[in-house]
């Protein structure tokens, strides 16, 4: 089971009543931690630890073999310090740090505005994320611990060619009241998740409703509870705990927008009576517990997709597409493996990606593939390569291997009409501008000249941003 919300919260989780406490802690913890979220003081603070130890006297020390020193000095135990509390290690691992006081503030970096990301003239500029957007992105878990936000004073991103392409596609679709359906594909560390983040930042700045699935593997690796939805044929499954968590993050991140739009139909199936014309925020608030969360989400989805209603554009994003393009690890009562598309929430996303769902005022559905944590999804890989060939008007469209059994028709049909945005390495001018930003932050000590830019560009395999970062910032030079 995934612990609701608390994982990426900066506050130290308490041992007892972990779930109930974490709900209240998680978002208030953000504000508390905002003063010094990167500080190690909370970890060293003995008062917190002592309290928890007093509550639970069992096992103050790490169990295991004890080191004996000397032949005759018996029972001399070497103290190894206190073991971290349950969940503490994971919380530390998943901690998101967005600022570094030791880094220099970069004065010439502008704050991102609502129209920044779609302007071609801005390609190659570095812009910072406004504070409000930072909070929203943090709530929707768009930041990842593996990204190096913690090195810079303020989270900033490079506007690259792909960003402008993606955002202008989104805007064009919304202008036509249609849905842009995109799959971001590309090599490892090219910045696919970061493009998702940029799409979300753009959406937040323009008053869209954003629903983001930070990691698709949580949905299909059988780590969250599931149950069959009654009266469905073929049987579909709901994941209420996950959906509850998602609803809360949707509520927090889109609070302003959701309070201004109102329901158009009553939802008698909900645990709480929501009259027509009440704000969607109230609808989401009906989900207090995991039980009934799915019906709330279902109602919310119906409201968001209600035709002829006044709805803002909707952005639905998901990271780690391969995880939902395979057979899940869940089992049906007959002990057969369940296809990911039979999980109801996943199906919602897949139908939107397929183009079966119409958003009343348009929107975008964007899925990013992952290269570091991705199961094999041959059909998805084939479909993506086919889409790319079609887009490039390449006469040789890749065909499926006739001797391979692992293809999945449902996956292929779901990706039949999507558009694939190939994310590649950045160009030299873009590389130069991002390196100038690193240098201005005091992280890159070398002079940024043609030679230096070329070197890093080549070492990163042709401008792969994550690799450039590794070559320039994360490699120790002695």
């Amino acid at each position: 089971m995934s612990a609701p919300n608390s994982l990426r919260c900066l506050a130290r989780p308490s041992t007892s009543n972990a779930v109930s406490a974490s709900l209240s802690l998680s978002f208030s913890g953000l504000r508390i931690g905002a003063a010094a979220p990167f500080s190690t003081t909370s970890a060293r603070d003995s008062s917190i630890a002592k309290k928890s130890v007093n509550r639970e006297p069992a096992a103050p020390y790490r169990a295991g073999k004890k080191l004996k020193i000397g032949k005759f000095k018996k029972n001399k135990v070497v103290e190894r310090g206190k073991a971290p509390l349950p969940g503490e290690r994971k919380a530390y691992r998943k901690k998101i740090v967005l600022t570094n006081d030791n880094a220099l503030p970069v004065k010439w970096v502008q704050e991102m505005g609502p129209n920044h990301l779609q302007d071609v003239n801005n390609v190659g500029k570095v812009v910072s994320l406004p504070d409000a957007v930072q909070d929203q992105l943090r709530i929707s878990e768009a930041f990842q611990p593996s990204q190096s936000w913690k090195m810079f004073r303020k989270p900033s991103t490079l506007i690259r060619e792909e960003t402008v392409q993606m955002v202008s596609k989104m805007e064009k679709a919304v202008g036509n009241k249609k849905t842009a359906r995109l799959v971001l594909a590309g090599d490892k560390l090219t910045g696919k998740s970061l493009l998702l983040l940029q799409a979300q930042a753009h959406a937040y700045l323009n008053g869209w409703i954003v629903i983001h699935v930070p990691d698709a593997q949580e949905l299909t690796t059988a780590c969250t509870e599931y149950a069959p939805i009654p009266d469905t044929n073929p049987v579909q499954y709901m994941q209420q705990n996950y959906v509850l968590k998602l609803l809360q993050s949707i509520k927090k991140a889109n609070e302003k927008v959701l309070s201004k739009i109102f329901t158009v139909s009553s939802h008698p199936e909900l645990p709480q009576n929501i009259p027509v014309n009440s704000p969607l925020l109230a609808l989401i608030n009906a989900a207090k517990e995991a039980e009934g969360a799915w019906s709330v989400f279902h109602a919310l989805w119906q409201e968001l997709t209600a035709q002829n209603a006044n709805r803002p554009p909707i952005l639905f994003t998901l990271d780690g597409l391969a995880h939902i393009m395979r057979i899940s690890d869940y089992r049906s009562p007959a002990f057969e493996l369940i296809h990911s598309h039979d999980l109801s929430f996943v199906r919602t996303f897949v139908e939107a990606l397929q183009g079966k769902t119409n958003f009343p005022n348009g929107g975008a559905v964007i899925a990013a593939t992952s290269r570091s944590n991705a199961p094999r999804a041959p059909s998805m890989e084939l479909a993506i390569s086919q889409r790319i060939a079609e887009q490039e008007k390449n006469p040789e469209v890749p065909k499926s291997d006739p001797y391979f059994k692992g293809y999945d028709e449902r996956v292929e049909s779901s990706l039949k009409t999507v558009e694939v945005l190939k994310v590649k390495g950045v160009s030299r001018p873009e590389a130069r501008s991002v390196m100038e930003y690193w240098a201005a932050s005091g992280l890159l000590r070398a002079t940024v000249d043609e030679h230096q830019v070329t070197e890093k560009w080549v070492l990163s395999g042709g401008g792969v941003l994550g690799e450039m970062e590794r070559a320039a910032l994360l490699t120790m030079r002695i």
Partner: protein, 323 residues
């Protein structure tokens, strides 16, 4: 009879006195002038073939024939009663006869051409002389190192004679002492650049072999069909793969297309260094000194050291046990 000469002068004087003594021993000059297979001579009849260098026994001495050849003797008068073969070379009974002969010949040459103009040794054609072992093997005699050094001194002095004035005899004499493989004269043929503008270079390191094609371009690298970042996970390996281009500031001037096989990542990366630097030298031969300074010219010959018996690994000793 061994020659014990402490100095070059002493050596030659000893040889000369030996020559005198042997000449006085000769019965008749006519015996020595006979061009027969009297292989008592220390001079090999046909030079340098090992078979002819073998010393064979002299044929039986025909006293009658000798008597007939003595002039101004009435027939049936005086008869040759005693005769013995005499070696051709005065050094015949020396320990290193052939060497002695060569040495004396060189000395004679030096004396003859002493007055020809010379150039400094550093300006002469760079030549590798035979090593002592080579020379010993060649003459088949236990030549002493100190004596060979003295011999080389004469050779070097002769080598200094101005090349335009060097007599053929000197050239011939020196050719006996020149090593068969001349390292300085091996001119490396620069790899050609084909019609597509590619230069190919090969490189090896440890168990890896790399072939790199270099064309003018903008710094794109493909190794076995993958980009540099895809192929090498370690940043260090990426740096060493393109080190030749990096060190000469040519990183954005060329594109690399390479294949590597064998070995591990470090070996492959460093094999690529060598391959790319060789291909780069084909494009710009003037970069060779810079590349040498960057360590991209010489192949690193180190390999895995073999395991030895009685050891756990190549050198690691077994754990000490009390009993």
């Amino acid at each position: 009879m061994t020659l014990q000469a402490s100095s070059r002068h002493g050596l030659s004087s000893a040889l000369r006195s030996l020559e005198h003594r042997l000449q006085s021993l000769r019965v008749n000059g006519s015996i020595t002038t006979v061009k027969s297979r009297r292989c008592l001579s220390t001079e090999p009849t046909s030079s340098s073939t090992p078979e002819s260098a073998l010393v064979r026994a002299a044929p039986e001495i025909d006293l009658d024939a000798l008597s007939r050849r003595i002039p101004k003797v009435p027939p049936g008068g005086l008869k040759v009663q005693y005769a013995r073969p005499v070696p051709l070379s005065p050094s015949y009974f020396a320990r290193t006869a052939r060497f002695n002969d060569k040495y004396l010949a060189l000395e004679k040459l030096l004396k003859t051409y002493e007055n020809l103009p010379i150039i400094p040794y550093s300006e002469t054609e760079r030549t590798v002389w035979k090593s002592l072992n080579d020379f010993r093997r060649n003459v088949g005699e236990p030549v002493k190192a100190s004596e060979y050094v003295k011999c080389l001194e004469i050779i070097k002095r002769l080598h200094q004679i101005h090349p335009k004035l060097k007599p053929q005899a000197v050239k011939d004499a020196l050719s006996d002492f020149v090593r068969s493989v001349q390292a300085f004269q091996s001119n490396l043929t620069a790899a050609p650049i084909d019609k597509f503008g590619r230069a190919i270079g090969n490189g090896r390191r440890k168990a890896s072999t790399a072939r790199a094609f270099l064309v003018e371009g903008n710094g794109e690298v493909l190794i076995n069909g993958k980009t540099l970042a895809e192929y090498f996970g370690r940043v260090h390996d990426r740096e060493s793969a393109v080190w030749a281009l990096h060190a000469t500031g040519r990183l954005d001037k060329y594109n690399v297309w390479a294949t590597v096989e064998g070995g591990g990542t470090t070996g492959q990366a460093e094999a690529l260094t060598l391959a790319i630097s060789k291909a780069l030298m084909a494009h710009e031969p003037a970069l060779k000194p810079a590349l040498r300074r960057a360590g991209c010219v010489t192949r690193d010959p180190r390999r895995v050291e073999r395991k030895k018996h009685g050891r756990v690994k190549a050198r690691k000793g077994p754990t000490w046990v009390k009993r």
